[in-house]
Structure formats: C-alpha cells, structure tokens
Symmetry: C2
Subunit: 216 residues, 2 copies
C-alpha cells in the first residue's frame, strides 16, 4: 500500500477561516482568534476524541472521524505555529509546546521552522524541528512512519503549502456553521480543489459538515 499524506479533522468556519491572522497567536490564545473553540466543539463531544479524559461521548458519524485520527498514522508534520506562538529564534528551550506532558500525537512529529532546535520526547511523542521545503520534510516523515501514513496537522499556512506543492493525498475538513470574518483562510470555497480532487460533502446531525477529498 502507498503511504498517504492525510489531512484529518481540520476545522474551518463557514467562511473558510481556520486560525487567526499571523501575529495574533499568544500563549493564552493558541488560535489567535476569538470564537475558534466553536470550531472544535463537534470533536470534543465524541467518544473517541483523543484528548477525552472522561467516559461518554457520542458514537455517531462525528465519532467515526475522531476515531480515525490515529489509525495507520506513523508520523505528523506541523507548522511552527501549531507547536507554539513564538516567532524568530527560540528564546527558551524549556518551553516544550502547548500540548502538555502527554501530547496526543504518539508518533514522531516534524515541526517546520526556520529555527531548528534539538529534538525531544514527551511520553510517546518525539518532536523534531526541521528547516526544509515540504517535499523534503515529507520524505523524512515517511521514513520515520515506517510504512504507515503521515498526518499533515496544520495549521492553515502549512496545509496550503503542501496543497500548492501537490503533496496531499486525502483531506478531511470540518466546516462549522460559524462565520468568523477575519483570519487565515484555508479556502474561499472548497470548489477550488475540484480540479485535483474528488469531493464528498457530508452533513452531520451535529450541525457541522464533513468535506472529504481524495486525488483524482
């Protein structure tokens, strides 16, 4: 089986916004966007949400997507902004990302940054910091994934870069019925991808709409 590069459970507003504008992130506000938490509510309500600590949660359609989060994933690629809000050279190697002592990734994670720093491990997750173009980072991640797929974790800018380079095999984007107006947009409309991808649009009883893409 081919190793796929998969975008999964990527959340945007009805107007395509997935994060605040560059510079609006902070330690207190990881998404740099008032109301961003409304984009994730659907996932937190499911039984299989990776960050869930209590029993319960729904086991319907939305749960089929959160439970697919880790299936056959051997590595993740993320932009620096998904790791932390800092810009420029690292001032503090003691700060190890905003994912806590047990990050939900549980694989090698490749953080794209112009400012590499030493790799480190938290529980089952090892963070590597790489200054390279998307194709090179993907090659490293695929090697680390040992035959499994690679998840492209975001944020918006990172997903756009890999899409523009033609490297993404499948995308699962969750559109919430919330209009945010400003911020970084994944797309103006998901129609933009139809020249290169098949698309299915699946409304969920929870109110969100799942957009599924795979290569033509």
């Amino acid at each position: 089986m081919a190793q796929l590069l998969r975008v999964q459970n990527f959340n945007v507003s009805s107007d395509g916004v997935g994060a605040g504008a560059d510079g609006d992130q902070s330690l207190e506000n990881p998404f740099g966007l008032p109301g961003a938490e409304r984009l994730f509510a659907w996932a937190g309500a499911t039984a299989s949400w990776p960050m869930r600590t209590d029993p319960g949660g729904s086991r319907g359609l939305d749960d089929h997507f959160t439970r697919d989060y880790a299936r056959n994933i051997g590595a993740e690629i993320m932009g620096r902004n998904k790791f932390g809000p800092q810009r420029g050279p690292w001032q503090d190697h003691e700060w190890r990302g905003w994912w806590g002592e047990e990050p939900p990734f549980r694989t090698p994670v490749f953080v794209m940054t112009h400012h590499p720093r030493p790799s480190f491990t938290l529980a089952d997750t090892t963070f590597h910091f790489v200054d390279a173009d998307p194709a090179t980072v993907l090659a490293r991640a695929k090697e680390a994934a040992r035959g499994k797929d690679v998840r492209l974790g975001g944020g918006v800018t990172t997903v756009r870069r890999f899409l523009d380079a033609g490297l993404v095999d499948t995308l699962h984007v969750v559109v919430s019925p919330v209009e945010l107006g400003t911020g970084l947009r994944l797309w103006e409309s998901s129609d933009e991808l139809l020249d290169r991808y098949h698309r299915e649009v699946v409304p969920s009883p929870s109110g969100v709409t799942h957009h599924l893409f795979w290569r033509r």
Copy 2:
C-alpha cells in the same frame, strides 16, 4: 476503556432484509438470496474494502466505514451460517468455510453452532466452534480479544439474538436502495431500536444510507 461489542458494515435492503430465509443458502449462493450482491456493492467500491486486491477505490464517506472494519477489533463472533451452508452434524472437516485460505478477519473467530468441531487456523484467523448462549460466547470472545473490541459479524439471526440479549454496544447498518421482499429481516424499521439506542441516519453520496446506533 470498556470493551465494546460492535456490529459493523452490516448490510440490509430498504425493507430490512439481510439474508435469504433459512434453508436457501448453498455453497454456490452464500446469502441464499438473489440480488444480495447489490447490498455489498458500496463496500467493494471503496479503497479500504478488506477483500480488495487491486489499488484504487473511493476514499469518501463509505471508505471511512470500511476502513473502520478492523480498527481495535480483537475477535469476531459469527453464526454458523456465516461460516458455511451446512446444517446438522459436520460431514466434512476438510471443508473449512467459504472465506478462502486468507480469511479477512485476522483474529480469533467464534462460530456459534450446536455441533462443535476442532478449532483450526487459516493464515491470521483461528476459527473456534462453540455451543453456548450469547453471553457466554461474548465472554470467551472478550477474553480472546485481549482488551480490544469484539465484532459481531452476523448473520441476521445472530445479530437479533445478541440484540435481544442486550449485549450489543454499537451498530453500523448499511441500508441499500434495493427492495428484496423475502428473506431474513434485521428489522421492520430501525425505529425499533430507538428505545435503547441513539441513532444517526447518514445518507452517502453513493446512494446507501448509514444507520449508526449507540447505547442510550
């Protein structure tokens, strides 16, 4: 995490029929029902169909269900009719089910029958034959599953028995737009389960409708 008993990718017609009437099965016609193959077409079209041997296939909504087939499954329970068409005492131990030399289950499988026979292994699948009530078989399957979930593979009669015993935690039933008229019915209407289960009904672009149930 609790070990669940899960029904997955279970196919019925628009009038609830999942197999031919008892006695209509044969070696040449495993479902004992003309047209039954139309109930499975949706699955065969997906990239993750466990029996797929060539590349290709869709990666949309339907594929999310076929790819969930083996996730966190440690054992399967099936009725005798899913193993073979014979009735009464086994006449021929050389015949080892109609799943071929590489059955798609890849776990221990517990076949419910009043006529036990010795266990045997084909590739990654070991078949055990048990003459016991549903609760007892489930206890054995959970032990064999080593902490993972158990899949209840069918057929119709077996699913009904476990439902009636209150043992099923989640169900995924795929309703095809095909009316079969005669045969074994899973239900008259899926409304019958609403006293005990949450339900979501999700139409797929392929034309089938996914019915998802989890305990109230």
